[in-house]
Amino acid sequence: MASDRVFGLVVIIAALAYIAGAAQTQTSFMSDPVGSKTFPILVGSVAAVCGAVMFLRPDAGPEWPRPRALLSVAAAVAVMVAYAHGLKPLGFLIPTAVAAAILSYQITPRPAFNALAGAALSAALFVVFRYGLGLGLAPLPKGWM
């Protein structure tokens, strides 16, 4: 119950922000009867109504994982964000090996196997992308080449 109520409120707030954003769209010299704002505002309004329905008539709440599992998911998000930032400056091989090993550890914690999986994945994918598909991936950080 609580989950749907909270989510319904979040949806209403987001929808209102969206409508406000849509209302600020600049109109131009030659506009049709509908214009740039109408459809987004329509969509935002329907979303807000949906949020209200969720708030007023919530379903049974889902089974949320225990805090530890949730923390583990949050850690995976963090790893991915770091990977996204690291891919360009650090080249392909090292960030990929590290990120893959961590994700692998989160699924089946066997450190030696995970490290090996990360390294192997990184190398194998590099070969496939670089030589199989011809993508111009940089293997290592710029300074090292």
Binding site: S3, V34, C50, M54, A99, S104, R110, L121
Partner: protein
């Protein structure tokens, strides 16, 4: 009749060793591309178009190769849908709904065979349909003006809502999220940026590939991590592949009906294969009724979308060849190929360039048999890629997703967006908010808005124009009924149960 002589001409071209070889190579490449999560038919065809130039192929050969890849990718898309719960491409989305539950119950092989046969039936019938009906069916496009398109898109959302969730509000919300995302970026009609909230990265909008990979691949990784590999997708193993004759025979009518529905959806410009598979699944679900187990691993639930999307792929060739109006993203890329080869698609193509059209049709017929052989007896070849331990496969899926998205845009912002969609997908699925309508919304959003705007220009802003034609009115009625009916059905079904308790 000259259909036979045309076909004879076609086969005389298609059965030449080079053409045959190209068709086989195209089928193989297409299936591999289709089965890789995130890579779909339009990427596949786009990747290979430059190849046809370096190979120095003539018009017919190039077209044969590319359409074989196209058909192959439509077949291949189901493999990771069934085994990983990640659609190999966007039209294979619906196949996850029953294919994956089937695979979880140890019937992965059966699901692959049934879907392979269904793909064959869909694609085969669509090719026949293309051959017989192309000149006639092309006229359907003339019946669809802005008001009709608007109603059609509405129908797609409302029926999807009835299908995808137990709560209409949540399904409608998902559609709105998708439509809302589609609005972000420059408004083509005025050239003004909308809803970018000052973020320059959003000026060109959100790519639906980023959303798909995030909502499906990345969210799946999160689910997997949450459960530490217990009771999640990749535990699915492909034991032995036998042919479940009974299921296939039982799904016979499903496949035929779905092919018809899918083909019709494909013929409509802009609708494409996703709508085909979706409508096919929907109508079969309603025919089979609530007790049929749709959504929990019903063989018919695998057969319907696969027959539907493969038939739609064939159907989409009809408006492309006869009107020069592509019916889908992939056919838009194929259209580019035709233009390059100095073939002008249009109403006279069938008369002016019979060797191209009939060579293509004959090749498609042959390619279908090749694909059936590859995708049923030899399906293990394509599955092997996916049968590795989860602790390797999941990080692998993540990295492929990252590199795939990164190689398309070279933008770390897209990668962050993808992770964001992953987290969103995780939360939404927890809350029973379906994610499929989000994708449909992103795909159809601008089309739907444009249809509305054009309708209002033509009618001087009179809203009644939206349902003034019989076709539009009919579509509206179905749309409203499709959205409202499940609510009452559920209530009717819930009451007796409540009385029991």
């Amino acid at each position: 009749m000259d259909l036979l002589s045309n076909l004879a001409l076609g086969f005389s071209i298609a059965l030449s060793p080079t053409t045959l070889m190209l068709a086989v190579a195209g089928c193989f490449l297409g299936t591999v591309i289709g089965s890789l999560p995130g890579l779909g038919p339009s990427n596949g065809v786009a990747i290979l178009i430059p190849l046809t130039f370096s190979l120095g192929l003539d018009a017919t050969s190039a077209l044969v190769l590319m359409t074989a890849v196209y058909y192959g990718a439509m077949y291949g898309g189901r493999i990771s849908s069934i085994l990983l719960n990640i659609p190999g491409d966007e039209p294979a989305l619906m196949t996850t709904l029953d294919g994956y539950p089937m695979a979880k119950r140890g019937r992965a092989g059966d699901a692959l065979v049934i879907s392979g046969v269904a793909s064959f039936v869909g694609a085969f019938l669509a090719t026949i349909g293309l051959m017989l009906l192309a000149p006639v069916l092309a006229r359907v496009a003339y019946l669809f003006g802005p008001a009709e398109y608007f109603a059609l898109y509405l129908l797609a959302f409302s029926t999807l809502g009835g299908l995808a969730s137990n709560n209409q509000a949540k399904a409608a919300l998902a559609s709105c999220i998708g439509l809302g995302i589609a609005m972000v970026g420059i408004d083509n009609a005025t050239g003004m940026p909308r809803l970018t909230f000052g973020n320059l990265h959003l000026v060109d909008g959100v790519d639906f590939l980023v959303a798909i990979v995030g909502l499906f691949a990345v969210a799946e990784v999160f689910f997997f991590i949450e459960s530490h590999g217990r009771n999640s997708s990749i535990g699915v193993k492909l034991e032995k592949v036998t042919v479940p004759v009974r299921d296939i025979l039982a799904s016979g009518w499903t496949m035929l009906r779905s092919s018809l529905v899918g083909f019709a959806a494909g013929v409509l410009p802009g609708a494409g294969a996703s709508l085909g598979s979706f409508l096919a699944y929907m109508s079969e679900k309603s025919i089979a009724g609530e007790k049929s187990g749709f959504g929990t691993g019903a063989p018919k639930g695998v057969a319907a979308p696969e027959a539907g999307n493969n038939a739609a792929a064939g159907g989409a060739l009809v408006p492309m060849l006869t009107l020069g109006v592509p019916g889908s993203g992939t056919t838009a890329v194929l259209l580019a190929l035709l233009m390059t080869l100095n073939i002008t698609p249009g109403p006279t193509l069938f008369a002016d360039r019979p060797e191209v059209v009939w060579g293509l049709i004959a090749s498609l017929l042959i390619a279908n048999f090749v694909l059936l052989a590859m995708n049923v007896p030899m399906v293990r070849v394509f599955v092997r890629v996916l049968s590795v331990p989860p602790a390797v496969l999941l990080p692998g899926v993540t990295m492929v997703s990252f590199v795939g998205i990164y190689s398309l845009s070279g933008s770390y912002f897209d990668l962050l967006l993808m992770v964001g969609f992953g987290a969103l997908g995780y939360v939404l699925r927890k809350l029973d908010v379906p994610t499929v309508p989000i994708i449909l919304g992103i795909l159809l959003g601008t089309h739907m808005e444009n249809a509305l705007r054009r309708a209002m220009v033509l009618s001087d802003g009179d809203p009644t124009y939206l349902f003034s034609s019989p076709i539009a009115a009919g579509l509206w009625i179905f749309a409203v009924a499709g959205f409202v009916a499940p609510m009452f059905l559920r209530r009717a079904l819930r009451k007796p149960r409540a009385a029991d308790a």
